[in-house]
Symmetry: D2
Subunit: 257 residues, 4 copies
């Protein structure tokens, strides 16, 4: 069988005059864009421009919903009621959907952002709220989730399509969680290493953890690269090239999942 | 011909624990609900509950977008760029649409809120931005606008359906604008008077202004009642009864426009 | 020795047109006002009016800082960095201080709000951040804290004056925490019972828990009443009367601590 | 007489992870810092860091209050009631004051930001609200205002100290207002030209307008440089050097006004 994988990136994370990332430069090197919905970043004009850029670059559009925490960029855990999580998902997905619809493109996926993603990886109840919010809007949407996570399990049980995600530029803990950004050496900055890890993840379904062991990811459907690191564009470029050379086809996850 | 008119009310204007209005009591007496979208009021949970209540009461759902001004409840004029207005409309309409879709009901209309409505009544450029935002999402949506306003004209030229609106509980200035809430006697609180004015507005297309003259409204498609006054429920009840007794059929504007 | 106690209430919790509480009615019956600072509720105009009302009623003014969570009214736990908590305290205390200064009254105390108060009751690290924020502004400010809490301990060790607080209108768990509002019977609504519990708390330093045991509070300096319950005004009135009849003097905590 | 002038810059305009400007590089070249207060930019941690940096560089600290418009960075005009403007001033000034107090430095001045500054230049009523807000907190604070503006007049009549401001890096219209940023050539980017204009402004009290005429500024007390342009640091450095070479002493305005 031919191997295929998606490359996704968080985009549209500016807010008004506050600029984040280099969306225009990174967009050509990815296949799925996670568009900030206004809760941790993003505003109506930014969403419109991001979706329009994605369309131009033939990149699939997804919603990137978050806890309502602009000041903390959605990276701070919040204890929300299930109903609040569910309806916040629906609100944010709908908002981005509107821009996709206006641009004449589909909405491919939903990837929870930051602390919401991290909590959902382990918490059954918040994962259920996330999944309900997605289902209420459109049960055809693909959910991005870490392999073997609560979110992946809940979404699969709800018969949603799940894209299992590998973080190309982040070190892994022995339990499969990411090494915290606040720790030295948590980020993979070397292009060769990043490509090699990604090819391994797709081919073998494994990743070497920060302490030299092997974590079994299982299937990997989509690879996340971050856009806000200094050499992000070069890394994304190298990744696409490296995957292609390894005979792994890079295309939007919606085309093969 | 049979006369028909819609009765609309601004609803879902709570925000978290901050409670506004008595949605549950007023909903049975109206035919169209203008649902706050989160910019001047409304939050995901509130929108969900409001749309669900509207569905239960067979009330048509519309979006009630605003300037981004929670602290001022959208009643303070803001100078936004056209692109900001257009994309803010698209964002807010989409967000409420998602809840309507999840509830299995359609989105009938869009009514700009507060200062945005007042500015659009006179300003061609902001009206064009509003209309573009609506069209980008769905050109079948009905726009609520004051008779003979910039917004009505721009929307009609863009081939949108326009519901011309009469404010049953507000006094009118000689130029057809509403007497400011900050002035004494700006609000009509007497049920009989409110009903009589409404029947006149629908039948004759006129309203008596605050200085005793007659302002020509022309066609009236929808009558606005406010939900946050002490006897709002009684007024809404009286209005529906009074219109029916005057042989004016009260139903959602989407059914006859 | 003469027994003395303070009666405090959370006030100024409106936000723009969103109205909460009956500040004007409850203010005459308390001795310390906890003024919302804009993070969970409160806006500049509301703070100004609340401080002015407190001054008129000879009620001592305190700051009521919160997690930055307007949508959740500060009742949702957030994981903030210590630096964020410390500087957020400083920001909010300063803001309310300005209005006290403008009104020509002093700032007496600081009472963390909602989830921040609950977390600080148990968490040493967040209590240290709170205390540092207070000290940076003014080491003469009194800190409101639950008896035997992490916050009380940390504040005392930092040589701050601490007012130990009893919640007159709430049931207690066996460990001295409050029974969650979401549970039936968590709120004491009977005036006689509320007064009796308060007199006991001040006289004996104990409270009967929800399961009929006795929790040892130790010294009680201030009694909290809530302003947003239907008969809050009557309860506050009854409390002041009951305490006075029991020969407990009711006055601002700053006068005796 | 010895000539003296202040050089001010808007700083602390980051918000959470959203980074704006190069505060650390520009701070050594100015004498007064206008610190964002949280309404258009700035958050508690950012304010703390900015005030601490100013202290280290012996730069005087001022508050830079704004309309409440984070999404628009305070650059969009808003129609606020006088009470709202006045109390918003008091709130923002107090908040920044707290950080100055904690750092052991004084609060020197207040400079309204963006749209608020521009409106106040022409509007008597908003200028009165601004001045009242300042006076309520501390009548010793210096107000930054454009020469011959409504704000300058109102503040002087209220017996406040006023620092008349010249914009070194902006072109002037014939009426003394700034050429809008949205127009080509509105920004002065050449260091020699910027220095020459500044020396002229201080020495002669005049500036050449965009159409080649001369606008009479009168006295100039403080010169504004912007920190967010590519070569801002170099310009600020050149300005200080150029003024010094022209025998104009550069020091905080509070020391000579």
């Amino acid at each position: 069988v031919e191997l295929r994988v998606d490359v996704n990136c968080d985009l549209g994370e500016s807010f008004g005059v506050f600029r984040v990332g280099n969306d225009a430069e990174i967009m050509p090197h990815i296949t799925s864009a996670n568009v900030a919905c206004g809760f941790h970043a993003g505003d109506p004009v930014t969403i419109a421009r991001t979706v329009s850029l994605a369309k131009k670059c033939k990149v699939a559009v997804g919603a990137h919903p978050s806890f309502p925490d602009l000041a903390g960029f959605g990276r701070r855990e919040m204890k929300l009621a299930s109903e609040e999580v569910e309806d916040s998902m629906l609100y944010q997905i709908s908002a981005v959907y509107g821009f996709a619809r206006a641009a004449g493109v589909g909405l491919q996926h939903v990837k929870p952002h930051g602390a919401l993603y991290n909590v959902a990886a382990k918490d059954q109840s918040i994962s259920e709220a996330i999944v309900k919010g997605i289902q209420k809007f459109d049960a055809d949407l693909i959910v991005f989730a870490p392999p073997r996570s609560a979110l992946a399990n809940v979404a699969l049980r709800a018969k949603l399509r799940v894209a299992l995600e590998f973080f190309a530029d982040r070190e892994y803990n022995p339990d499969g969680s990411l090494v915290s950004r606040s720790q030295d050496g948590s980020v993979v900055r070397d292009a060769r290493q990043l490509v090699q890890r990604s090819v391994n993840a797709v081919r073998e379904g494994t990743v070497e953890t920060v302490d030299g062991r092997v974590f079994k990811l299982g299937r990997v459907d989509t690879i996340c690269v971050h856009g806000d690191t200094p050499n992000a564009v070069k890394l994304a470029q190298a990744l696409k090239k490296g995957l292609t050379e390894a005979e792994i086809k890079v295309e939007p996850v919606g085309s093969f999942i």
